[in-house]
Structure formats: structure tokens, C-alpha cells
């Protein structure tokens, strides 16, 4: 199992470097590194430090956030179909972003969009905690999440519907497809504290999630404080997914597929799956982001489109093979 972690870490590191080296500016390997580390090469320094580095870091952070929160959500709900968007945080963050785009705030102030998205995620968490209560069960959480997601989706449609300006509408649609293009270090500074903080919270829940393998009663009798575990899952997921959505847009499938792919490899223990899924999510998002640059460099292929296009058939294949094992 140690080798799984080692290979995943190696993969993430390789993809991170590849993400730094691949781009439309066609800079050589040596020049890229010289520019990045020593600041030599004029405009190349700008490309490396202001464009590619933040993009690679955000790919790493957002991917890790999605994979980790997906593993935590599946572990808490004891359901392999759970995904981080289930509690309504991604939809609400998207709604916040859409409102920023529609009102023109995003065009006036660069950080208005991610900040508004974070505010949307925050409101969703407050609503979830209010609706599902501090002592409610998993079912209340799922239902509250579905209600909030539906409401956020309806409000997004309303914003699009009432949009007087077709360009704002287009911009909204494109944003919802997810992308890491043209992000700056300011985006990194904004998202990193939430993703790292929320990530630490989620990683700390491993033991409780392990005990939950036996069900809620058995976990409680093993000394797990269920209300606290639940709060940790909600807040950790909200912080990581809210921040990831704020900077990368709506990127689907990673939170669902990555824990699936890695579960058997780490012996299915939720506490081992958490860090593995963080690494796996980072690798998958970095790879997808490199893919958008390689497949159609001029067409501005969107990240969310690619993850769903690659993820969905992959997922189908997985279900197909699972079906054959279970039959």
C-alpha cells in the first residue's frame, strides 16, 4: 500500500512539472526552469511565474480538494455514489460566481468572482447546518443538499433567463464548464487557505470514518463523536469544494471517480483512501488541464468538459467490470 502512495505522489509531481512545461508559448525545457527558478529570460519569466505556475498550483489544489472531499463524503455516507457536490456547496458556489458575472462585478474587480463564489458556498453551509440540524442523520443531510442544489440551479437559470446581455450569458455558460486558464497568484492566495485548512480537517476524520464502516451505532459505541464527525465533513467539504469551484469553476466527476478508482488499491479503508484520493484527484485534474492545452490549444477546450468526457466512459467501464464481478 505504501507503494500506491509513492506512485501517486510521483505521478502528481511529474504532472505538475509537465503542467509547467506545456503551453502555447512553446518555451524550451531549460529556459522554462531557468526563468522559473532564477528569473532569467525577460518575458519568459512572466509566462512561467505569472501564468503557468499559478495554473499548475491551482490544478494541484483544486484536484486534491475534489478527490479528498469525494472520499470523505463517500466515507461518511457509506455510499460509493456520493460526491462532494451532494451537499449543495458546488451549486451554491457556482451561483455566487454567476451572480458576480451577471452584475458585471467580475469584470470590474478581478476577485469579485471567486469571492462571490466563496460567499455562495458559505451560505450553502449555513443553510445545510440549519436544515439538517446538528444531530440529524445522513438522510437529512442528503435531502437538504438536494434541496439546496435544486434551489441554486433554479436561481442560476433565473439569472441566465433574465440576463439582458447575451455576452454575459455566454460568459456564464463558459464559466460553468470549468477552467484553469488565465488564473493568477491572487487566485492561489485566495483558494489555498480554504483548501489547505479544509483539507486538514477532512484528513483528520480518517479514524471516525473507518469506524463508520460498521454503521452509525457501532461507530458511536467505539467512541466516535458522530455530530462532530458530521460537522467536520460538512465544513471540510464546503471549504475545499467551495474554494475549488471559486477558482476552477464547476469541474465534475473527479470527486466521484477518483475514490472509486483507488478504493481497492488502498484496501478500502476510508482513512487510507482520504490522502490517496487527494493525490489521485490532483493527478487527474492536472492531467485534464494538460489535456485541454494539448488536444485543442486554440479552441480553449474547457476543463469540466474534458473531465466529464473522459470520466464518464471510464466510469461506465468501471461499473461494467463491477457488474461482472458481482454477477
Amino acid at each position: 500500500m505504501k507503494s500506491v502512495f509513492f506512485l501517486l505522489a510521483l505521478l502528481v509531481a511529474a504532472l505538475f512539472v509537465a503542467s509547467l512545461l506545456i503551453g502555447p508559448a512553446g518555451i524550451g525545457f531549460g529556459d522554462s526552469l531557468a526563468a522559473l527558478f532564477r528569473g532569467e529570460g525577460g518575458p519568459v519569466v512572466l509566462v512561467m511565474r505569472e501564468i503557468r505556475l499559478p495554473r499548475a498550483i491551482l490544478g494541484l489544489l483544486a484536484g486534491a480538494a475534489l478527490g479528498l472531499s469525494g472520499a470523505a463524503m463517500q466515507g461518511y455516507l457509506r455510499n460509493p455514489l456520493a460526491e462532494p457536490g451532494l451537499i449543495g456547496v458546488s451549486a451554491s458556489a457556482a451561483l455566487g460566481a454567476v451572480i458576480a458575472l451577471q452584475t458585471g462585478a467580475a469584470a470590474a474587480v478581478a476577485l469579485a468572482l471567486p469571492l462571490s463564489a466563496l460567499a455562495g458556498a458559505g451560505i450553502a453551509v449555513a443553510l445545510i447546518l440549519l436544515l439538517a440540524g446538528p444531530r440529524g442523520g445522513a438522510l437529512a443531510l442528503i435531502l437538504a443538499g438536494i434541496a439546496i442544489s435544486a434551489l441554486a440551479a433554479a436561481l442560476m437559470s433565473l439569472v441566465l433567463n433574465l440576463s439582458p446581455n447575451p455576452f454575459a450569458g455566454m460568459e456564464i455558460v463558459y464559466w460553468m464548464m470549468g477552467s484553469l486558464a488565465d488564473r493568477s497568484m491572487t487566485h492561489v492566495a485566495l483558494a489555498a487557505p480554504f483548501i489547505l485548512g479544509g483539507g486538514l480537517v477532512l484528513l483528520s476524520l480518517g479514524r471516525g470514518l473507518d469506524a463508520l464502516t460498521l454503521g452509525e451505532d457501532a461507530a458511536q459505541s467505539l467512541g466516535v463523536n458522530l455530530p462532530r464527525l458530521r460537522l467536520g465533513v460538512i465544513l471540510g467539504t464546503a471549504a475545499t469544494v467551495g474554494a475549488a469551484t471559486a477558482v476552477a469553476g464547476a469541474v465534475g466527476f473527479i470527486g466521484l471517480v477518483v475514490p472509486h478508482l483507488l478504493r481497492r488499491l488502498v484496501g478500502a479503508r476510508p482513512s487510507a483512501l482520504l490522502p490517496a484520493s487527494a493525490l489521485g484527484g490532483a493527478a487527474m485534474l492536472l492531467a485534464a488541464d494538460i489535456g485541454t492545452r494539448l488536444i485543442a490549444p486554440d479552441a480553449d477546450l474547457k476543463l469540466g468538459v474534458l473531465t466529464a468526457l473522459v470520466g464518464a466512459p471510464f466510469f461506465l467501464q468501471l461499473i461494467w467490470s463491477m457488474r461482472r464481478v458481482e454477477a
Binding site: 460498521l214 454503521g215 451505532d217 458511536q220 459505541s221 466516535v224 484496501g267 479503508r269
Partner: protein, 247 residues
């Protein structure tokens, strides 16, 4: 020493009490069988005693902090849940979590596996086992917790005869070591044969509490279960066999 003391324990579903003012204590060295028809309040008693339900009255276990309670009593719930395809040793090692780490290498894990006849199962995937095997693995998990008291909700339901007798002997063995077990059970024959003491619940109230001979009387069987049975002392110990329905 008393390992569990319940004082006027009451559990309500809505306004209706499903368990009504039950007072009892379980001491070291006892293997207590908890009997009663469906809906008599057996599960409510066990879960309420652990503080897994909102309760009225007092339970010595529910009053403990979660960590201390997990070292005082292990609980085997009725619903046999194994959510993920983990290995048997990983699952059984979860019982070690209250003592520090869920370490599959701990001697308690090996002992629990051996006690349940699961020596060759260590590396097997728990969710791929049969229902009865899963039940035995889950009992082993509770044994690995090595608590003074084991609380089990229908631990032998659905096991084959050998595994049933084996599990009952393991529980009786724990009592013999100075620990205690309280287990709800529907098989009156197994209860009469292996338990040192029986508690009979009827409509949420304590109907009888004593040795198997004292509890399984004709009058009580008729009143509580609506059955008649055959009861005899044999060289193998007490034997009880339900014979027919009288209502």
C-alpha cells in the same frame, strides 16, 4: 463488580414508551440472555443503556464519556453492516481503536479471530463472505475491543448450529473469565442452555429476571410468548424446546 447499572431506564418513541422504567444491573461473571417477543423493547434497552438513544432514568454506561464508554462496553448492533470491502483483519482491528490504534497486528485481534474460528480468514475481503461468516467477523470485532462488558443485539441470529453454539460458548467463556455479556436472543433453547441468567421483557417492562429455570416457567411462556414448551434437566445441562402455540 457491577459493569452496567440501569435505573428506571425509559425510552420513548414519540410519546409512547417502548421501554418503561427498567431497573437492573449486570455484574462480572454473568452471561445474561435478554428475551422477549418482537417489539418487547430488547433493542431499545441495549441501545438506551449505551446512550445511543435519548433516555429517561439512568444508565451507568450512558453517563460515561464516549471514549471511556468504548473501553467499558463493546456493542454489536443488530444490523450487520460492513460498508466497504476491507479485509477481515482490518475490520476486526477496528475494535482496537478505542485503545489507541486499529492495529491488525495486536494480539487481541488474533485472539478474537481464533475464538470465532476465523484463523484462515485474515486476508479475506469481509464483504465477499457469506452472511453467517460476516456475522462471525463482526462478533470477532466486538471481542477484539476486550471490554469488561459485551453488549450484543441478536448475535447468533442466522448462524449455522455449530457457529451458534460456538458463539454462545465464547460468550459463556468471557463470563467465566470474569467479564460479562448481555445478549438479546430469540432462541429460547440456546438461551436456556448457555446463559447464566435470563431477563424477560414484555411490552417494554421487566417481566422476569433470574436463572433460566426460574424465568422459563409455563405460566410466563404462555403469557409473554403465547407458547408452551418442554423443559428438562439433562446430563448436558438444561434443555428447552418450544412445542406449540396456545393463542
Amino acid at each position: 463488580m457491577t459493569l452496567m447499572a440501569l435505573d428506571a431506564l425509559t425510552v420513548r418513541r414519540g410519546t409512547r414508551p417502548v421501554l418503561d422504567g427498567v431497573t437492573l444491573r449486570v455484574d462480572e461473571g454473568e452471561f445474561v440472555g435478554l428475551l422477549g417477543p418482537n417489539g418487547a423493547g430488547k433493542t431499545s434497552l441495549l441501545r438506551g443503556a449505551l446512550g445511543l438513544l435519548p433516555i429517561g432514568g439512568h444508565s451507568s454506561l450512558a453517563a460515561l464519556a464516549p471514549g471511556a464508554r468504548a473501553r467499558a462496553a463493546a456493542f454489536l448492533p443488530q444490523g450487520r453492516e460492513i460498508a466497504w470491502p476491507v479485509s477481515v483483519e482490518t475490520l476486526v482491528a477496528l475494535g482496537r481503536a478505542p485503545h489507541g490504534a486499529a492495529d491488525p497486528g495486536h494480539p487481541a485481534v488474533a485472539l478474537a479471530l481464533a475464538r470465532m474460528g476465523l484463523d484462515g480468514y485474515r486476508g479475506r475481503i469481509a464483504t465477499a463472505l457469506s452472511g453467517g461468516e460476516q456475522a462471525r467477523v463482526l462478533i470477532a470485532r466486538a471481542l477484539a475491543q476486550e471490554t469488561p462488558l459485551l453488549i450484543a443485539d441478536e448475535p447468533v441470529a442466522g448462524l449455522d448450529p455449530e457457529a451458534q453454539i460456538r458463539a454462545m460458548q465464547v460468550f459463556a467463556g468471557l463470563a467465566g473469565e470474569g467479564r460479562a455479556v448481555i445478549a438479546s436472543i430469540h432462541d429460547l433453547g440456546l438461551a436456556a442452555r448457555h446463559c447464566s441468567r435470563l431477563i424477560l421483557l414484555h411490552r417494554g417492562r421487566l417481566a422476569a429476571d433470574g436463572t433460566p429455570r426460574e424465568v422459563l416457567t409455563e405460566v410466563r411462556l404462555a403469557e409473554v410468548f403465547g407458547i408452551r414448551g418442554f423443559h428438562a434437566e439433562t446430563p448436558d445441562g438444561p434443555v428447552f424446546q418450544p412445542l406449540g402455540v396456545i393463542r
